[in-house]
């Protein structure tokens, strides 16, 4: 009797515990499925790079994440959030230099599940090793230096935007085709890594394509100097057929405003490899014949796909009719690349990071600028086709003519080959 009584107590206790566990599972399981994925977004929110790059990128992140979290709004991406989990954005300012950014990265890594960010090449080079050290999935969305994956390889780091090599190789290819008689080339580039790398790639590619090309002058004003009177005089005096510039933001706009009345755009063909960001506001001041790049198939050069049409409309509806510029496209590309990898891996939570990384490597996905392939850096670095065109005004509208598309393999080195060596080899595959 005594034993029977004990057994029934045990059975009752076990039943109670089982019910309790069942209830807990029923209650907790949906909560786990709804746990948001916290994504840190690092972009310039202050300083000179905020207006042309940082803020448009931040706004694109807001547009895309809002649509993804609603579910079914982004063409080609029917699932809600990241495989059902909502995305939560945490924004951090990229201003302040590399030392500050490394510290900020370490702080941010403790608060978020993964990080998307970085416009400055210097910041990318500084943050890259820390991403692997902290084992934090990190996606560079914009910075252009090819050195990130040429000089090292990383497990936790990806870059969904193509490198700057293709901007300048494509510019050289375009010019060699459009101006077969060109003999003298000049440059005006900001005196830091971005300007120097851009000019070196451009002039090396130009010398491969046109062996007798001569450098008329290479101007190196300080970043953000704003006054280019003497440089414009030197460019005008040089008699160059072509002037190459990788100026961006306010510097690029100031160069256009100061050089245009002085006739530089009439005397030489000017190539602005970052020109697109200024075209919405400055378009009417940019003279006919100026060659403009958007650092990829973005904005006016983006393909007419359902995804691109949705992205432009959603962005313009939210931000008073202002169209998205290339940093916006590149941010959207990073978020959609992450989503593709996450869902291909069938990841349920950030704990599945290894599965996400395996899916991300060599992934191909669709962005608003078209197909993106993680084709370099052992599958961690994106390659994409390149587009360049020439400005032509039609009444008060700015249009682009002689638009040329270059496939990714024509403007990007093969995997494992440094951009500089590839250009000097005569673009050997």
């Amino acid at each position: 009797m005594q034993m029977q009584g004990n057994t029934s107590h045990v059975i009752r206790a076990l039943s109670f515990t089982f019910c309790l566990v069942l209830i807990l599972i029923l209650v907790v399981t949906p909560t786990v499925a709804q746990q948001p994925v916290r994504v840190g977004v690092v972009t310039f929110l202050s300083g000179a790079a905020a207006g042309p790059f940082g803020v448009p990128a931040k706004q694109a992140a807001e547009v895309v994440v809002e649509a993804l979290n609603s579910g079914g709004k982004v063409p080609g991406y029917p699932l809600k959030g990241l495989n059902g989990a909502p995305i939560e954005l945490v924004f951090v300012d990229e201003a302040g230099g590399t030392t500050k950014q490394v510290t900020e990265y370490r702080n941010l890594a403790q608060r978020v599940d993964l990080i998307i960010g970085y416009i400055s090449s210097g910041d990318c080079l500084a943050v890259a090793p820390v991403a692997d050290e902290l084992k934090k999935l990190t996606i560079f969305f914009d910075c252009g230096t090819p050195r990130v994956f040429e000089d090292a390889s990383y497990k936790y780091l990806f870059r969904t935007g193509a490198t700057a090599t293709m901007d300048n190789v494509a510019a050289a290819l375009y010019l060699a085709d459009a101006k077969p008689g060109l003999k003298k080339v000049a440059g005006i580039n900001q005196n830091y890594a971005w300007g120097q790398d851009s000019w070196n790639d451009f002039i090396a590619a130009m010398k491969v394509l046109k062996t007798n090309v001569e450098v008329a002058t290479a101007q190196w004003p300080q970043l953000l100097s704003g006054q280019y009177g003497a440089e414009i005089s030197a460019l005008l005096s040089s008699g160059a057929d072509v002037v190459h510039s990788s100026f961006w933001g306010g510097d690029m706009e100031a160069l256009v405003l100061q050089a245009s009345p002085r006739g530089l755009f009439k005397k030489s063909t000017v190539v602005l490899t970052c020109g697109e960001t200024g075209m919405y506001k400055l378009g009417n001041q940019v003279p006919d014949g100026t060659i403009i790049s958007a650092r990829g198939p973005f904005d006016m050069y983006a393909p007419d796909t359902e995804l691109n049409r949705w992205f432009r409309k959603a962005y313009m509806d939210k931000f008073g009719g202002v169209p998205p510029s290339y940093p916006s496209y590149k941010m959207a590309q990073a978020l959609l690349g992450l989503k593709s990898a996450w869902e291909k891996a069938k990841a349920k939570s950030p704990a599945d990071v290894d599965k996400v990384i395996a899916s991300f490597e060599h992934l191909s996905f669709e962005g608003p600028g078209g197909k993106v392939t993680m084709g370099l850096g052992k599958g961690h670095q994106a390659v994409q086709g390149m587009v360049i065109g020439t400005v032509k005004h039609e009444g008060s509208n700015v249009t682009y003519v002689n638009i040329k598309h270059y496939p990714a393999d024509k403007v990007t080195p093969p995997d494992g080959v440094k951009a500089e060596d590839w250009i000097k080899s005569g673009f050997k595959k």
Partner: protein, 297 residues
Amino acid sequence: MNEFLAVLVDGLIYSSWLFVIALGLTLIYGVMKILNMAHGSFYALGAYAAASMVGYWLNHGHAAMASYGVLVVAAVLVGLIAGPLVERGLRFMYGRDEMVLLLVTYALFLILEDVIKLIWGVNPYFVSEPYGLLGTLDFAGLTYPYYNLILIGVAVLAGGAVTLVLQYTRQGKLLLAVIHDREVSVAMGINVSRFYLVTFTIGTALAAIGGAVTAPTVSVVPGMGVEVIVLAFAVVVIGGLGSLQGAALGALIVGLVRSAAVHYLPQVELFCIYTVMALVLIFRPKGLFAAADVRKI
């Protein structure tokens, strides 16, 4: 020969631009012994105010020629509003070490940068119409907008006006007395606080004029005051802190050296400016026109 003339013209234009900005900085230091880092923000405020007001003026179909007047009005307004406000705040710090005041104005510079972002946002502003409105001049085989020549006129006018006021007016002479000895000036019944207020306001307005006349030639963006303040400091250090003639000579040296470097050796452009500054400081540690210190017993 043509290239040499271009070096001179480009150098003169750049020097004029620098001088207008450095003039306010040197005036404030000369009178108040404040190395005003916030000067770069006043320059930026002048540019933003000018871009907004000229943009408004032209968008409402008013006469384009009058936009030059609007540029000046915008700068004066910035001077009249920001100058007294900031000077009021700085009064609590008068008499402190110059280094403390430098740090205070640096903090102010950072605050004003954020104020600018709060008011105008981070997108660029353009108001290029006044730049091309007067046409162009062909000289030494090159084309220069007349606007650039006006810039030289503005510099001469601003420098001349400040010198005339200081040398030939009663108020100017009283101000010179304040510069020489604040305590004795107070003892003699001079209202030093009022002179500080007026000087700071004029200095602020000069920075704002620098920004306003620059606005038509650039894209007005956040951070535009940063580089300017560094260059303006180089100019006043070369010339000697607080010296008007020094600021003029410093601006001329920096402008011509930079222009020559751009034309003949562009890769060392930036290096040249600071090499000149270093050389001057080796031989004249207090700058070319620094006044000898009076030792007080």
